[in-house]
């Protein structure tokens, strides 16, 4: 009889080891799968961004055009014979080709890009600079990140929190005038934020000149920090409102539908029948079981901030990552394009992995295959 607790402990211990091993195996498999997904995603980006190598040809033509016109426009070269001038042009072109490694086949360069991207060695941009003048892709991206996080973080957090909160209320007032109003307004989200942005600029920057039409801060930026903050707040208002208007109704509508489904589950009806107070039903019977999708949505929203929005930033002249990506595509600056994609890919992979773990913690029904 005295062996029984020891045996029970031994069984528990073996169970823990087994669960730990299964968790390890699961984690390993998920990490490998996610790594392969990132690998394929990044390589596809490299391949597509370079149009399978065809961009090389475009760049060569572009280099040739730029060099030829520069030489032609320079008075120092004007008395050269045509042959001398063409030789000079060819030398200048070969220097630029060498600098950009365009003398190497694209397929070799693509694997080099891939290797460095997977090692998170973002390297040097080929054409672009950070605003401050650095050619390191890391500097270029990090310089623009705060502006994007500020605008998109604020807007998305606002939309997320307000819509979840409002949706919970509406789910309990299904069919009310308010509920029908939100449903009716949901299609307004078909228009993107920049669309509303244009109207807001017209209205608040020009018709009623109350707010600036673009930029992140006045020029020149105020030296006092409080003034600087106030200036940023004035500049962020219109893009923020544009993003809010364009997303809020569809977001409330979609969460409200989600909560509505969960609100009509049998166990919720049972809780209501038992006469439990509303806030308890909300917290324990609706929010708790729906926590996983809410957290998933929240985390995916957070990493989605990274990319910014190209057109919105252009419209509001906001110095964020969206504008940067737009410029990088325009310059065909592969390292910058890859840099932004690889960081997003890794963030996404890490988030997905974390969510896999979080699901197990948040929802007792989720178990590793074979687990108890």
């Amino acid at each position: 009889m005295s062996d029984a607790p020891e045996m029970a402990q031994s069984v528990r211990s073996r169970g823990l080891w087994r669960d730990g091993w299964r968790l390890l195996v699961f984690s390993g498999k998920r990490l490998i799968a996610l790594f392969l997904t990132v690998l394929v995603g990044v390589y596809l980006t490299i391949f597509i961004a370079n149009m399978g190598g065809q961009v090389d040809e475009l760049r060569l033509v572009q280099i040739r055009g730029v060099v030829s016109e520069a030489v032609r426009a320079d008075p120092a070269f004007q008395d050269m014979t045509a042959q001398e001038r063409n030789e000079l042009i060819e030398r200048q072109i070969s220097l630029e080709v060498e600098r950009l490694n365009l003398d190497q086949p694209f397929i070799l360069r693509s694997f080099d890009y891939l290797y460095r991207a997977m090692m998170l060695d973002l390297g040097r941009a080929e054409q672009m600079h950070s605003d401050a003048g650095s050619r390191q892709v890391y500097d270029i991206i990090v310089e623009r990140l705060p502006a994007t996080l500020l605008l998109f973080g604020t807007a998305n957090l606002l939309v997320f929190l307000v819509s979840v909160w409002a949706a919970l209320h509406l789910s309990r007032r299904y069919g009310s005038l308010l509920d029908r109003s939100v449903v009716a307004l949901a299609p307004t989200s078909a228009a993107p934020a920049w669309f509303y942005g244009m109207f807001l600029i017209l209205l608040f920057a020009f018709v009623l000149p109350a707010l600036p039409s673009g930029g992140m801060v006045t020029a020149p930026p105020p030296e006092n920090r409080l003034d600087y903050l106030a200036s940023v707040l004035r500049h962020i208002t219109l893009p923020l409102v544009a993003m809010f208007i364009s997303s809020i109704f569809i977001s409330i509508y979609s969460w409200r539908t989600f909560f509505l489904i969960h609100s009509s589950e049998d166990y919720v009806e049972m809780a209501r029948a038992k006469g439990l107070p509303d806030h308890l039903i909300r917290r324990r019977y609706i929010l708790r079981p729906t926590l996983s999708p809410i957290v998933t949505s929240f985390l995916l929203m957070l990493i989605g901030l990274w990319g910014g929005a190209i057109i919105l930033e252009q419209i509001f002249n906001w110095p964020g990552l969206g504008t940067l990506i737009f410029q990088a595509i325009g310059h065909r600056d592969t390292p910058v394009i890859i840099g932004t994609v690889v960081i997003f890919a890794y963030l996404l992979a890490v988030t997905v992995f974390l969510l896999d773990i979080l699901y197990g913690i948040l929802d007792p029904r989720v178990r590793i295959e074979g687990g108890r």
């Binding site: 040809e57 040739r64 008075p75 008395d79 045509a82 600079h129 390191q136 009310s176 308010l178 106030a230």
Partner: protein, 846 residues
């Protein structure tokens, strides 16, 4: 009410945000921006004030041209350094009471023809291999329609390979007018020529369609789809369809199109006509090279150019013009006339319009805008920017981008918007006239240009002299090369003991106090600021030097081909002699391209130390090769490196190339220089030290703005360049009889004015008239006589009309001025009748 909290909350949040923002805006006096326009000033005030007219210029990024009018009206911006070519935007700009604008003419639109053939490699017909077919397109198209309808008035018709706003066009105005009338819109003539040539090529006209070898003749138009050229392409396509061709329209972006028309094999037949465009950001005073570039294989090495087969006479004339193989100016002009005529017969390119760029500004703001480069290309903007009749204040300038690439004076950013800003921070020895392209003295008193007798050079302005001589010998003590190992200049005696000669000698007399000025950081200037940049020119091409930059070598080799020496005649006052084999047709341009300026040597020294250490590089190419940062004096990772170098340089009292430069300075100057620079950096957090009318107060790279402030120690009065704030384009009124009877004389009166006042006679270069008959053939040409008060008279005796047929004729007048490259034209239509016939009412062309 609680039921509605779900909806109210977001609405309240939005409202709260707007209220907060409104309050913040209210705290700054609403958002109706209060513009600091300075104080009223008399002409005397401006003469007494030193440096620029305004106290501060703020550059800020503004990419959306659509907001320009609103921003100026609101007062948040006063100038935009971005040319506008959208007609709708131009209308708004024109209609606004708060805005004004300037015009520039740097962009030209044309049709490029594929000259391969007449059959492509797959047997398809390319009728445009035949010059006469290309020539016929001149008559087919209506350039006025393109300029006024497609470009909404933001273009002027162009027929010739000469920009209509540049001096060569003005100098050849009478020839240009003749050709323009000859090649004007004439669809009947075009049809006749097309039908004749198509039949000669073996094509058949079947049921209103051209057939070749049993197949319809199909033409591929490569149409640029990223600007108004899309509509130009469609317009041409419709015209050609009307002439019986089947048209395939390929709409492509610049990049997509360039793969087809520039690098593709023309014989492959992927295109017949391309809608091309060319940009010039500065006034080209010598466009003689255009004929070789646009019409002959010498233009470029790409397959399209190699497919050109110009007429041998045209080729020879174009070649002579490119090589400047003429003995005097008259011979050059004769060659130009021949080339113009032959280029129209060749018509490998058919020129359509010169596009106008509109440069917006507030109505009360003045500045000199370049006729080719506009506001962003203007060299005189820092000297002329201000509020009319006022001094001081602040101007906010919007531009699409700034700080695009690192700024440094050796091989820094050459982006047009970056250069617009840095131009204000420096003060070059000469500045170009924004309306003629001729160089004017800024920091030099005078110059003497001597050329060999065989060099065709002309002088226009009187601040320099021009002499010719049989031979120009380079004196033995002239610096002709640099010895990197010994760090000293080599003289002509050492490198060429047998003697050295040159085609030109320029002797430049700088202002007496040229080196007594101060840099923005307070350091006094010295000869080292003149000589160090010169040394670096050689050092950066020296493979044994740590400053060696492979990207600098091709340009240096081109420079060495014509460089013959550099000699200091006197240090105080500074007088330099420069010897060279390079010739420019304008003596002013020879001086401008030779004369050295100054660069702050103590700033360069930090860059030299950093590049030697491998932590920074002056040029982009070298930075990439060294895997380091491109040196920026104003921001980014360069600043801590330069700061470290500043400490080091101060400690060791570093003077680069001391073996040579120590002769021009002393230890006291070195210490003082670095101390001034350290103070400057501590106050402004950047290392850009210039001597221009403005200094760089602050740079905000991420926020996209830069602030320039007036340099109070700038030596010139504020009104020095104000005469260039407006282009003085002559305004013409031509009047005369509407009926001329054979056997009688006729007198026509031409009034040349500017803003209603007589145009100064001494500024008029030439007044030429052309008398055209009803078929637009030139019957007579000649000049006008000055009568005083801006009035010019054209008298024609009875013989002038003797050969004119009865009917409608016209008199065309071309006026060219010294003050602006743009010629002015006027025309007067009249009828010629027989001696006894009664006059009939004639419609006068306005």
């Amino acid at each position: 009410m609680r039921r509605y909290t779900g909806l109210l909350l977001p609405l309240l949040l939005v409202a709260a945000l707007l209220v907060i923002a409104g309050l913040l805006a209210g705290g700054r006096g609403g958002h109706t921006v209060i513009v600091d326009r300075g104080t009223p000033a008399t002409e005397q005030d401006l003469r007494e004030r030193r440096g620029p007219l305004v106290d501060e210029v703020v550059f800020t990024q503004q990419q959306d041209a659509g907001q320009v009018v609103g921003l100026i009206e609101r007062g948040s911006h006063q100038v935009f350094a971005q040319g506008i070519n959208r007609p709708a935007l131009f209308q708004r700009l024109r209609d606004s009471a708060a805005t004004a604008y300037d015009l520039s003419y740097g962009t030209s639109v044309e049709l490029t023809f594929n000259p391969s053939g007449p059959e492509f490699s797959d047997g398809r017909l390319n009728p445009f291999a035949v010059p006469a077919m290309r020539e016929a397109i001149n008559w087919l198209i209506n350039r006025r329609h393109i300029a006024e309808e497609i470009y909404g008035g933001l273009a002027v018709p162009r027929y010739l390979p000469l920009n209509t706003a540049f001096p060569d066009y003005a100098r050849l105005a009478e020839m240009a007018r003749e050709l323009e009338l000859l090649y004007g819109h004439d669809p009947a003539r075009a049809r006749e020529a097309i039908r004749r040539e198509m039949q000669n090529l073996g094509a058949e006209w079947v049921h209103g369609r051209w057939m070749y070898n049993g197949q319809p003749v199909s033409l591929t138009l490569l149409i640029r789809n990223d600007d108004e050229r899309r509509r130009v392409g469609d317009y041409l396509a419709n015209l050609l369809e009307g002439e019986g061709f089947r048209i395939e329209r390929l709409y492509r972006t610049a990049e997509e199109a360039s793969r087809i028309w520039i690098v593709g094999d023309p014989a492959g037949g992927r295109w017949h006509i391309y809608t091309g465009a060319w940009i010039s950001t500065l006034i080209q005073r010598d466009q003689a090279e255009n004929f070789s570039f646009y019409y002959t294989p010498r233009g470029r090495a790409e397959p399209l150019w190699q497919a050109y087969q110009p007429d041998p006479d045209f080729d020879a004339v174009a070649d002579r013009l490119q090589r400047r193989e003429y003995s005097d100016w008259e011979e050059r002009q004769d060659l130009m006339r021949q080339a113009l005529s032959l280029s129209m017969t060749d018509s490998a390119r058919v020129w359509l319009v010169d596009q106008l760029n509109v440069w917006p500004r507030a109505r009360d703001v003045t500045l000199a805008v370049d006729l080719a480069g506009g506001t962003s290309g203007s060299n005189l903007w820092p000297y002329t920017l201000g509020y009319a009749g006022r001094q001081g204040g602040r101007v906010v300038v919007g531009m699409p981008s700034l700080l695009t690439e690192p700024w440094n004076p050796v091989a820094g950013s050459n982006w047009i918007f970056d250069q617009m800003i840095t131009r204000a921070l420096n003060d070059p020895p000469v500045l170009p006239d924004p309306f003629t392209g001729l160089f004017l003295p800024q920091r030099i008193e005078r110059a003497e240009v001597t050329v060999r007798e065989d060099a065709p050079v002309i002088r226009t302005l009187d601040w320099l002299s021009l002499d010719t001589t049989e031979d120009i010998e380079v004196p033995g003590d002239t610096w002709v090369d640099w010895d990197g190992a010994e760090q000293r200049f080599l003289t002509a005696d050492e490198t060429a003991p047998e003697g050295l000669s040159a085609r030109t000698r320029v002797r430049v007399y700088y202002e007496p106090d040229y080196l007594e000025r101060r840099w923005h950081d307070g350091s006094p200037m010295s000869m080292v600021d003149v000589v160090l940049p010169w040394i670096m020119l050689f050092e950066r091409a020296n493979p044994d030097s740590p400053l060696f930059d492979v990207a600098h070598v091709p340009a240096f080799e081109a420079f060495q081909r014509h460089f013959r020496g550099w000699r200091i005649v006197s240090e105080s006052p500074l007088v330099l002699e420069i010897y060279s084999d390079q010739i420019h047709p304008d003596a002013e341009a020879i001086v401008a391209n030779r004369v050295p300026g100054v660069t702050a040597w103590h700033v360069l020294a930090l860059g030299i130390l950093a590049e030697r250490e491998g932590s920074l590089a002056f040029s982009s190419n070298k930075a990439d090769r060294m895997r380091t940062d491109w040196l920026s004096l104003v921001s980014g990772p360069s600043l801590p490196v330069l700061e470290r170098q500043l400490h080091r340089a101060s400690e060791i009292e570093y003077l680069p190339y001391a073996e040579t430069l120590a002769h021009f300075t002393d230890s006291g100057e070195i210490v003082a220089r670095y101390r001034s620079l350290a103070d400057w950096y501590a106050a402004r957090r950047h290392f850009y030290v210039g001597s221009g009318p403005f200094f760089l107060q602050s740079v905000h790279p991420v926020e996209g703005s830069a602030v320039l402030r007036r340099f109070p120690e700038f030596p010139d009065p504020s009104d020095k360049w104000l005469r260039f704030a407006e282009p003085e384009i002559p305004e013409l009124t031509l009047d005369g009889p509407v009926v001329v009877t054979h056997g009688e004389t006729a007198t026509f009166l031409l009034e040349i004015t500017l803003d209603g006042k007589p145009y100064p006679e001494q500024a008029i270069q030439d007044v030429q008239y052309l008398l055209f008959d009803g078929d637009n053939r030139v019957a007579l040409r000649g000049g006008a006589q000055y009568q005083g008060e801006g009035r010019w008279l054209i008298r024609m005796d009875e013989e002038a009309f003797a050969n004119l047929p009865m009917g409608a004729n016209s008199l065309e007048v071309a006026v060219t001025s010294d003050r602006v490259a743009l010629p002015a034209f006027a025309s007067h239509a009249f009828a010629t009748v027989a001696g006894s016939a009664p006059p009939e009412p004639i419609e006068v062309t306005p």
